[in-house]
Subunit: 739 residues, 2 copies
Amino acid sequence: MRKESRLLKWIYLIVVVTALFLLGFAIGWFAKPTHPNTENSSASRKYLREFLDEMQPNKIREHLRKFTRLPHLAGTEQNLRYAEQIRDEWLEFGLDSVEMVPYDVLLSYPNKSQPNYISIVDQLGNEVFNSSLAEPVPEGYEDTSNIVPPYSAFSAKGQPEGDLVYVNYGRTEDFFQLEREMGINVTEKIVIVRYGKIFRGNKVKNAMLAGAKGIIMFSDPADYWAAGVQPYPAGWNLPGGGAQRGNVLNLNGAGDPLTPGYPAKDYTYRFSLEDGVGLPKIPVHPIGFHDAIHLLKNMGGQIPPNNWKGALNVSYRIGPGFTDDFKSQKVRMNINTDNKVTRIYNVIGRIRGALEPDRYVILGGHRDAWVFGGIDPMSGAAVVHETVRSAGRLLSKGWRPRRTIVFASWDAEEFGLLGSTEWAEDNAKLLQERAVAYINADSAIEGMYTLRVDCTPSLHTLVYDLTKQITSPEEGEEGVSLYESWHKRDNWTNDRDAPRISKLGSGSDFEAYFIRLGIAAGRARYTKNKKTERYSSYPVYHSVYETFEIVEKFYDPTFKRLQAVAQVRGGLIFLLADSQLLPLDADQYADSLRKYAHSITQLAQTHPEEMKVYEVSFDSLFSAVENFTVAARDFHERLQTLNRADPLQVRVMNDQLMYLERAFIDPLGLPGRPFYRHVIFAPSSHNKYAGMSFPGIYDALFDIEHSADPQKAWEEVKRQISIAAFTVNAAAMTLTPPA
Amino acid sequence: MRKESRLLKWIYLIVVVTALFLLGFAIGWFAKPTHPNTENSSASRKYLREFLDEMQPNKIREHLRKFTRLPHLAGTEQNLRYAEQIRDEWLEFGLDSVEMVPYDVLLSYPNKSQPNYISIVDQLGNEVFNSSLAEPVPEGYEDTSNIVPPYSAFSAKGQPEGDLVYVNYGRTEDFFQLEREMGINVTEKIVIVRYGKIFRGNKVKNAMLAGAKGIIMFSDPADYWAAGVQPYPAGWNLPGGGAQRGNVLNLNGAGDPLTPGYPAKDYTYRFSLEDGVGLPKIPVHPIGFHDAIHLLKNMGGQIPPNNWKGALNVSYRIGPGFTDDFKSQKVRMNINTDNKVTRIYNVIGRIRGALEPDRYVILGGHRDAWVFGGIDPMSGAAVVHETVRSAGRLLSKGWRPRRTIVFASWDAEEFGLLGSTEWAEDNAKLLQERAVAYINADSAIEGMYTLRVDCTPSLHTLVYDLTKQITSPEEGEEGVSLYESWHKRDNWTNDRDAPRISKLGSGSDFEAYFIRLGIAAGRARYTKNKKTERYSSYPVYHSVYETFEIVEKFYDPTFKRLQAVAQVRGGLIFLLADSQLLPLDADQYADSLRKYAHSITQLAQTHPEEMKVYEVSFDSLFSAVENFTVAARDFHERLQTLNRADPLQVRVMNDQLMYLERAFIDPLGLPGRPFYRHVIFAPSSHNKYAGMSFPGIYDALFDIEHSADPQKAWEEVKRQISIAAFTVNAAAMTLTPPA
């Protein structure tokens, strides 16, 4: 019996031991997370706070001071020096890698020995007036060399001479009014137009199409003066001797004019100048309003309508040519600007993603400036620099984002977005397959009023969430969020009670990423009060007066506005790179699409008769928007029940979000513009900076009024509606369950 | 002391219990795999064996018998009936979903009340000879209705009348020889050419460009007779009354001629017929050689070179027109074929992927046939049907592939690959982002000799591995693998000791997937002995004699050859869908690129003088191939050390493999051909079916010899070399570590 008892005891012991072991095993098994890399979002939130708090006004001031001492036009020695300095400092800040990426692109410079100017010549050919050869240099920069005088980059060379015709802003509609209502033909004439409303390259294209042999552009105080503000240096208005530099290409997103579609590397085939993309065939030159008065004051011909009149003390007569007293005088342009293939340098820095190194979040902005670049672009570059510094600090504390972050300092933006476009062409496949978002970082400030954000609809929600976590930079608003401060100043009228966010336009480095490749994109800066400040851009735009001092004295003395912009740009990058689920909102895209579809339909309905005759219907587009709306809603519902512990399921849905923007790309491009491929957001052909959504439909409707063959024009409207409907339907399909 | 002892005992017990629990916990923790879905590859291998073994010759015979009883031209009632039957049977077999996907595309049919024919007319206009209106109907099908007579689909209508000119195969070089060496202009003439060497649509294009007002195509026994074989039904040669149907479009991958670039849905905008893509502007008609003899026998003019002579008992004189005795006779074409927008139906079946539902492996082949489709395409469709049946059996045993499998029965392939192209256009975004591979399933047999595989280089290794697991279908080769049997019959001469695999050409449904979208693709079928059997395609190609019986009696009496093809096509799909790591080989792509670069360089070096004068160098291309080779080697090395237990790391590398083929797509397309975008493998403009690799360079070199401006032509060669070098470099970048 003892044996049996002992046996029982042993059995009992074994059972207990086994049971305990199994209990432990089971708890161990189930306690272990399925995937070791499930995100710790409270850690991520803590790091975001540290990342934002680390960005400091005085540091941004230092960066801006450092990078605005000398002129650094694209292709010059000094711009290479700044590139090297940025590379070195980004490495010091702690990025995983930083490289300089060169391209050889077509740039354009004035001829130093034969300066550009405009003359009035008498009948003997004597120059009785010459425009100024340079802007008066601002105080403190008297000894600075290499200040390029105002010029129109890529102007044709030549000495055209003839009568002036004034054509308001040089828009398509201005030329139509001139030709059809005023009966004036500009063939063999030199046109003079004021800056503003549309991209200057479009003015030049319109002048060429109309047959002009030269074009002069001037800054009218009506468009470049803020009320009650002194000219620089006493205030921040444009002095009468200042003028706006700028390229006059019609690239439509092609990048380097000689290598459209391909990166401008050493082995790349280059077109001849004759075959280059978008190069104007006529001389072009910009002047300030002091010089403009001399050209305009004696003009003859018709008195223009009121909306053609600027703020100068002249009558703005149309011409052609001068009044009777000056009839024998002509205007002559003397333009000797040279095109030249030149090496440029992008600086590309990277933080490798911990879990998804093949997902890229990009913060890019340009470094090249027309002169000092106090506002454009160095206010933006200083902000990027501070963002990199702050990210480096986080890395040293052990943080590493889930996805890869790419920082870019682009070159030659001012010459047609060349650095950013060549890099996009070079990396097109990688970007198309891997890029999550692109945040643009051009000028960080253009006014002193509030935040301005332009972005794709899927980013709206993220921008609102983020700005609630940032403090207002305005005096007296301590403890107020940037969101509240912004909301108070720029509410989304009618539509909704939230700060206004606008569509992305064109004309900065996001073009290749957003409009060609379809990568979700956005930009943020500090801006003016659009309701009361009606001038274009900001007064000293692209003049020598864009100095460090104009920012320090007027735009942002405490550098808190730039700090807020840094926090917005940086915070977007952080959240896009480090959130387990991509913070992109398809529902918001659906809402926006519906609004855009209504707007374009209303535009078409200004032709109710033709709509009937040609059987034009927007039904297919509205049906597509409805399909998209349902797909987006269902997608976000599925996201609620996603098993976040399963890395493949998370990746599958993130991929759907990442590729949402890609779905709006038409690989065939818009008519005649192969590199503008975004069916919703490419710029219109006629109005490059503003533009409706659905540019294909918009352009077709625009052409209706001017077409000789209305049936053909309406057929094109129908074709464009069909393309838009197909694209939106295809985008809806990308949001449905993948199998 | 007892208390202490009890306490000790308790402590002891607690320690033991805790230790046991912790031991169990630890073992449980570590025993659990990091990811529950790590592949069990031995299970997958077992399923592959079952999948291959399940495919049975007698079942394939049944499928073929069932789907070849009645003519089923695209757009007809009967082809819809077969589509419904396929849908129903695929659902019975067990697919997760099957849907019919309709499009409304432009098709072309003869006018039933006004048949097409060719006449010889005398000087009074009397028809002294008329070509036959139909082929003699094969035995057993005498009561069959709806056999469409031989015609050239999309021919223009018209009754052109004139002298004949014989232009050999109607190739670019034939027309050049005719015009430049023989001094004959075909303006206002009707040309007659023999079928073969190039796609018939190119012959028509060449005739139009040369100015002809009509074109007749005939099947010459030199090109459509196998030696020592009887005409059908005694053998498998083409009877003299048989003729080759076929479309004569020049679509260059556009799909439906009226909706290029977009799916032909109800709301889609359609171009007018005048603006449609690739529609010939002249009448076209095909005839058999019995009729051809009548047209050729009295022709006058020059005796042609020997390589212009076929195997008919005529002199093959060039013309124009007949010999003196028949000088007054002319040839008249009577063509009344109508274009018509018609509904077609694809059948799309799916097996949802277990782990990566958003990765697609596609097996697609067409269903529409010119008449019965005994070979083209139903030998292929029967094979797909059996593959679906076998996959359904596996599903019922609990198998589910890692990735999604898509099966497609395309419509209207014969009218320009319309069904497959419209679906690709409809799903372009999803396919571009998610498709792993496309396996084409057109005719499964065209000869009785051995296996033929055409595929992208990255699939070579997989094809070899798979065919070693399949048994030879040849009598007396029991126990011999398909690989060995194939290797013995068609070794890769010079290059390597392995069965020959060729490049993918064009002219079947893989075009939109491979050449437009850049999805890795391949095809497999049973073929003739290319060394001894020199005829084009197979003799009865596109005639009424493509019956079930020709397969059963001659091509594959045991249906084991079709079984082997089913196992190859099915096995490829299985392994691409179910392998944890994608079985794609970048090293092999590197090897192939090097060979192609050498070939195209050799072609250029037939012009050594001009190469020097115009400074043409292939260095950039070879340097790019070298970059690609290094990147591929490094990639496969990294793959060796990949942590396969980490699902994200596996996905990242699989994505690089999936997107490798995509990297060879140029979004701008080849010059003038926006839908042919594969820089390595698009067909040449001049030789649609054969074609060198690097079609851009090839076409530019081809144009050298015929260009009026050699400098411009050589500039284009240089531009194309630069594009090829850039593309290969970009592909190399996709294989490097992603960050």
